[in-house]
């Protein structure tokens, strides 16, 4: 473990909303090429943790370091440009653009106002689009409007949009929610494939799915880390059982 490079280091992180501590003095370290799953009951602070890392929420205290860069004061788009990608819980795609355009818009070139004005769809862009589309099982649907996709396909499309940016850290909030069994299968495959050369943090409730993909699992409870380790390890932890099965 110590031999691998730490990509993300969260130290003593806290955030409070009008007195309510959604994340409380949390520490978390994610290694290179690791697929980490964060689980925990509702209100444990899982989504807030991702929000804090990607900048959607500002931390009250503590530090978030990505590749040894301090993130807490950085604007969101800067964090993305440094290599952090974030997928939201409900699929967040541009419904009225085509699949191709959705992916194209996410291509990490022409990100400034004027860059975008003079952006041209050249061979490099198309190559990357095709590559990603194939990965997310949508290579046949490039010219369709995104609103015509099924729910699961929309989830994939959003992941694809993130992959266009080739992030070093990918954060996915419940990627298989609302998916059919076969779609879950394909998603698990997809996640395994994409975590081969980047770190991934996944929030998920489906324990079977977690078991299948996770390298390591972190359990959050009331904004604090409750347990961390392999799936088998945390499942055996009495505190985790207590939290999940409750009183």
């Amino acid at each position: 473990m110590s031999s691998a490079r730490i990509v993300l280091a969260v130290d003593n992180l806290s955030v409070s909303f009008d007195g309510f501590k959604a994340v409380n003095d949390l520490n978390l370290y994610v290694e290179q090429n690791e697929l980490r799953v964060v689980i925990g009951p509702n209100g444990a602070g899982k989504t807030t943790l991702l929000d804090l890392i990607c900048g959607r929420t500002r931390a009250t205290a503590g530090s978030i370091k990505f590749k040894d860069m301090e993130l807490t004061r950085m604007p969101e788009y800067e964090r993305v440009r440094r290599g952090i990608g974030r997928k939201f819980q409900t699929p967040s795609i541009y419904e009225n653009l085509t699949v191709l355009e959705n992916l194209e818009v996410s291509y990490p070139r022409g990100r400034t106002v004027f860059g975008s004005l003079f952006f041209r769809r050249d061979a490099a862009v198309m190559e990357r689009v095709k590559e990603v589309a194939e990965l997310i099982y949508l290579d046949e649907r490039l010219d369709d409007a995104a609103e015509l996709l099924s729910h699961g396909q929309k989830q994939w499309l959003e992941i694809g949009m993130l992959l266009m940016q080739d992030p070093e850290l990918l954060m996915l909030d419940e990627p298989v929610a609302g998916m059919s069994v076969s779609e879950r299968e394909k998603t698990a495959e997809l996640l395994t494939r994409i975590s081969s050369n980047r770190s991934v943090i996944v929030i998920e409730h489906d324990m079977e799915f977690v078991k299948r993909i996770a390298h390591r699992v972190t359990v959050l409870h009331q904004g604090k880390m409750l347990a961390e380790g392999s799936m088998d390890h945390v499942q055996a932890d009495p505190r985790v059982i207590e939290v999940y099965l409750g009183h």
């Binding site: 959607r56 969101e76 653009l97 106002v113 010219d143």
Partner: protein, 401 residues
């Protein structure tokens, strides 16, 4: 609920030149049909209405596509118009024609307000080059500052709308209050010549009409090109999914500032053309009421259609002019009713109606041919929803974590 689909996106796959047909038709209409059918008086009115269309196409870009509703576009229209009026007024106030004043050579309203020397603010407006720059730069800079202040702090939606409205109110109070420098509530009147060229002659009116129409068509074309670029797609994307765009590595605020500034500059060009064609500028354009009316021109024409916005400006103004002549007691009811109807029943305006008709036609054709593809099906225009993610502090409804 569905999100409104602009015709540019739905026309994907169609030959590129098809997108330019409506603009060509518009050009034909305002460059040939109207000048041939209308007498000079009505044509001059059209010219005046077309200056509002600059504001309307700016609003299509920043409201329809960008989701930023500004209720203060009159500010920029007014600033452009005032800059032009200042130049013309100085030209009209040469010492010879103002010799009955206590201080000849300054605008008449300054003399009435006991000002005895031209204020420094006015000095540079002796130069036409400076004036032309000021028409574009002053409103642009102001929009830029407001935009940076607001968008960097994620102020948007309704709050932004009433903020811009507050700015409009403030500026109009400032202009009315500082009458020694601005002409006050009367505005800057009695403008005569532009570099010695009398703008009041019939000939000048024709020239200005075509200049105005040309500039407007160029602006629409510019807007269409802009919407075709990645920028255009991003604009639409950030209207509907601002968070997604931000977390795709874009500085959303910068895009909003740009489009808001562009809309402001377009409005200012309209304002300057207004001054030239109408011969005066008044603070009644800067306040809240005209600013909202201009939004309605856009809504009536179709908030997602640049060409539609031009028709909208023409239709509403002709309606207003006609009804106020024929039913002076009724026209406010009609205007108010039009507002409500457009917003509630036809959120896509005239352009949306045209699309529906075209859709129905295609459907009928398809049925006749005995086949109907999914892609050919007309889209029922659904009202666009405002950006789902309002700024943190201002968010009022819904939304899960």
């Amino acid at each position: 609920m569905n999100i409104i689909t602009p015709s540019t996106a739905s026309a994907a796959g169609a030959p590129a030149w098809r997108a330019w047909i409506p603009l060509a038709a518009l050009a034909l209409f305002i460059l040939a049909v109207l000048p041939l059918c209308l007498d000079l008086f009505r044509l001059n009115l059209v010219g005046k209405y077309l200056t509002y269309a600059f504001v309307a196409i700016g609003l299509v870009l920043c409201w329809g596509y960008g989701g930023i509703l500004s209720l203060g576009q009159g500010v920029f229209f007014g600033l452009g118009g005032y800059a032009m009026a200042m130049f013309l007024k100085l030209e009209a106030s040469d010492p010879e024609s103002t010799k009955i004043q206590s201080t000849p050579g300054i605008p008449d309203f300054m003399d009435w307000n006991q000002i005895t020397a031209l204020p420094a603010l006015w000095e540079p407006f002796h130069s036409l080059a400076f004036t032309l720059l000021a028409i574009v730069l002053v409103p642009g800079l102001m929009a830029f500052v407001i935009g940076v202040a607001m968008f960097k702090r994620r102020v948007g939606g309704v709050y932004f709308a009433i903020m811009t409205q507050a700015f409009a109110a403030m500026l109009s109070i400032l202009i009315i209050g500082q009458q020694g420098y601005t002409g006050g509530v009367n505005g800057i009147t009695d403008l005569k010549t532009l570099n010695g060229w009398d703008i009041r002659t019939d000939h000048a009116k024709y020239v200005l009409y075509f200049l105005n129409a040309g500039l407007l068509l160029a602006s629409v074309a510019l807007g269409q090109v802009l919407l075709k670029t990645k920028f255009g797609k991003l604009l639409l994307a950030l209207r509907d999914k601002e968070e997604r765009v931000r977390f795709s590595g874009y500085d959303v605020a910068a895009f909003k500032v740009f489009i808001f500034t562009l809309a402001a500059v377009l409005s200012a060009v309209g304002g300057a053309m207004f001054t030239l064609q109408v011969g005066f500028m008044s603070p009644s354009f800067v306040g809240i009421v005209p600013s909202i009316e201009m939004v309605i021109f856009t809504a009536v024409g179709g908030r997602l259609s640049l060409v539609g916005a031009v028709y909208g400006s023409l239709a509403v103004n002709f309606g207003k002019s006609y009804f106020s002549e024929s039913f002076p007691q009724l026209w406010l009811f009609l205007m108010g009713g039009l507002f409500i109807a457009v917003v509630m029943l036809f959120p896509n305006g005239l352009a949306g109606l045209a699309d529906s008709v075209r859709g129905a036609w295609q459907k009928w054709q398809a049925r006749k041919a005995g086949q109907m593809t999914a892609r050919g099906a007309p889209r029922t225009p659904a009202p666009p929803e405002d950006e789902p993610a309002a700024p943190t502090a201002l968010r009022v409804k819904g939304g899960a974590a």
